[in-house]
Symmetry: C2
Subunit: 489 residues, 2 copies
């Protein structure tokens, strides 16, 4: 049955577009964080939308499950096949054309396999900005970004991937091509199919191309690091910054003292750039810190004035204890690098539990206080590597074992000790965090999607009504269950 | 069968909540523009979500069609029952509670029957801004705004109703309650059900409450009127304004010379405020004009500087021929009033054809030039009352008969002559406009929805694939076809 499918597909594709040799499949079989190891029957690499549609039609005919994949940088295993040996990876990475550039409409029409960085570069060449930005942008594809509704650091001002998309071309689950590549800001002629496909993680249809929204480049971008007393100050600072800067506030990232402390410990050179704000040197405790970014359409001078005024007011009102403004692009980059090094520092420290949660912004302070306390009572000395997109209500509330468990041990020993600790406690800790998040009307996956990682948890937390609505839509659009089975639902 | 439904519903509702007397039904039976006159069996006015759900369950049981209605201000007949005498109007206007105000999260949770103006006022009382704004905001309800994904004048900066909604409570077509009232900026835990219900015009589910997004109030709002050579200049001005002001550009409305000329003719007192920019006095031709609005988060001074710089540059580059900046709130209001009086002036002039189209912004100039020419060749002397949200690519490209047809006639005679003209030519003209719009990848309903007015046209213009996707979703979610049959699809 599966072999018959491959034989039927083969003549449709170029000679290198159907892979079945075990070593050729490897890169497609494992997710980026190596949590999921699948066993695909084959990997298909079509180059056109028509080929994708033909593959999907044949998959329906032969009842073969397709697992769409882009840059394979997802964090929830959404693009990894299962271990049955019967699923076929459908890589969209060879759909790489930039179909249309439209400066006056501020749009780009790109195929799914164009990397995020290539989209950014194409926009830049037009004198415009594509503001979606992620750690993995060099490999992540725009198709994958849209399929997972990617977030990143620009959401506060520009929205997530869904907000940055004006239209899509989709191969439906039955193998038809829907041309929804409209570059319109307004279109009220029916159901919002676009937003339904975006974020559906390849379970309802395959996004083969998209029209993305571009923006004017700001005249000046300013970055600052502010030392705050804790999350309550961070919240007051956010309110002040939004009131004074509105859309010019393009970044607002919180870093707990444990987060900054880890950077100081493992990457002192990186931490040096924010030393005065983040503290943590010479064994002293680190400080909670906020990274702010202002993007101003007018001039460097206007941006400086705006940021200075904000910081003056924040200091005056005691919202901020100290602040430092980057004086050059290099300094600004160094501050962002500090923020981005938290993940790497935590990895150096050892195994830990990652969460990607969102809450109403008004609940962040209460959540953090109650959650930190609950964790410390349950596991004295446990560390909360809490950082992230505070301005979006999105925290990476990660949890690392108590360091005392590994005092005086080597790195290798420590990693093993932490691993053992998590083996015992990970499920309980995750449940503690997610239970509280859901009780406070939050989300257990703010930007990483459900994939396979959060699928069963989502079932536990979502109402029956919502689950049924999702299942009804899935069954209606993909009656044979061909597209990415086992993900999301 | 229908009577049995009413008998079953009666005990669920308060004594004034089920209306069947002909004179009590009248206000619910006719749309705002009086184009559609329906004949409802009854009108139901529930006060709670639970009542709505119970009604829908009974409607399924008795196979009675429900026509949801809010403030009944729609422009496409989407909330008007048919003439069969068997459909029941389900008014959501008594769901009027403001359930939750959250300043730190910048959200309001409101029930469907709260008017748009009440939402604006509640936001204002919190020191925040709800930017959705429409002519009918005093009667239009937020439920109706969301059901139709309303647009208005704030879309350029803040987006349409869909963009302003973080979560919804929906009574499904089978009478279950989905609580999707999340106040989250980020949530990637499944399909975007919210955006599917928003804009579905009550055909997939009934929005009974919503969480809407609020924004900081700008420190200063400045309005200007700029005389331009035509649409090409308007486009250049838009690009300049976005590059220099980015998100601070909150309004960009185009008015063709015919549009401003009509205001001069019928409402000279209103036109006086923009006299120098719009021309058209003493029988001279009017000028194409752009109304610009800048909202600045910092100060009056900063707003003035920004607008002055923009206008200087625009004059310098010859994009604008003259410009006048409102010197007071009253003057700014007068300029907006001028813009909003176009519709009334056109109505005074007589019957005409309304269009609500959207195009890629890069296609506006070509569209207008080609369309104007095609119209003038087909109907010499015909008038193009072309105005609207140019910055969103959304034009109200309205068409009025040649005035020469009624030269020297009284107003009553003129209206009759124009009516006769339209009787003969309306369908042809509409088809000319919409054919070109669709050929240029545009939308035939940018912000007014399909309702019954554009339903059949949408069928002609939409691909079979898209229509099938919509029908599949409709059938899956509303298997008995209870919700608003005959609308959208």
């Amino acid at each position: 049955m599966s072999q018959a499918f491959l034989e039927a597909v083969r003549p449709l594709l170029g000679p290198t577009a159907l892979k079945t040799a075990p070593d050729a499949l490897e890169a497609f079989a494992v997710d980026w964080r190596k949590r999921y190891v699948g066993k695909p029957l084959a990997v298909l690499l079509p180059e056109t939308t028509e080929q994708v549609a033909a593959i999907v039609r044949l998959a329906n005919e032969h009842r073969v499950a397709l697992v769409p994949q882009g840059g394979n940088t997802g964090l929830s295993g959404g693009a990894t096949p299962d271990a049955s040996g019967s699923q076929v990876v459908l890589s969209l990475s060879r759909l790489t054309r930039i179909r249309h550039q439209d400066s006056d409409n501020k749009t780009l029409t790109v195929e799914a396999g164009v990397t995020l960085q290539q989209v950014q570069e194409a926009a830049d060449a037009m004198g415009l900005l594509f503001p979606l930005s992620l750690g993995s942008e060099g490999s992540a594809t725009i198709g994958g970004n849209l399929a997972t509704n990617a977030g990143g650091t620009g959401v506060l001002r520009y929205g997530n991937a869904r907000d940055l998309c004006l239209g899509v071309e989709v191969v439906t689950a039955t193998g038809e091509i829907w041309n929804g590549l409209r570059g319109l800001r307004k279109d009220n002629t029916g159901y919002d199919l676009r937003d339904l496909f975006v974020g559906s993680e390849g379970t309802l249809g395959l996004i083969t191309a998209a029209v993305v929204k571009l923006f004017p480049k700001p005249a000046a971008v300013m970055t600052a690091l502010a030392r705050v007393g804790g999350p309550a100050d961070a919240l007051r600072l956010l309110q002040l910054a939004q009131a004074q800067c509105d859309a010019a506030l393009t970044g607002f990232e919180f870093m707990s003292s444990v987060s900054t402390g880890l950077v100081v410990e493992y990457f002192p050179d990186v931490a040096r750039h924010g030393a005065q704000m983040i503290g943590g040197q010479d064994g002293k405790p680190g400080y909670p810190t906020v990274l702010l970014e202002i993007s101003h359409p007018e001039s460097q001078e206007a941006a400086t004035t705006m940021l200075d005024r904000l910081m003056e007011k924040a200091l005056e009102e005691g919202v901020v204890q100290d602040a430092s403004v980057a004086q050059s692009v290099a300094q600004a980059k160094a501050l962002w690098h500090l923020r981005e090094t938290i993940t790497l520092s935590a990895a150096e420290d050892g195994p830990h539990i990652k969460h990607d949660i969102a809450l109403p912004i008004s609940s962040l302070v209460t959540f953090i206080a109650a959650m930190d306390q609950e964790m410390q009572s349950a596991y004295p000395g446990i560390r909360l590597i809490n950082f992230g997109h505070f301005g979006d209500g999105n925290l990476h509330y990660n949890v690392a074992p108590p360091p005392a468990l590994a005092a005086g041990k080597t790195k290798t020993e420590r990693h093993q000790i932490f691993k053992d600790f998590l083996q015992t406690h990970e499920d309980t800790i995750r449940k503690m965090v997610h239970d509280r998040v859901v009780a406070m009307n939050g989300s257990i996956s703010a930007e990483h999607g459900l994939g396979q990682l959060r699928r069963d948890e989502a079932k536990r937390y979502k109402s029956a009504v919502e689950q049924n609505l999702m299942k009804t839509i899935k069954t209606a659009l993909d009656p044979n269950g061909i597209l990415n089975p086992g993900k999301v639902l």
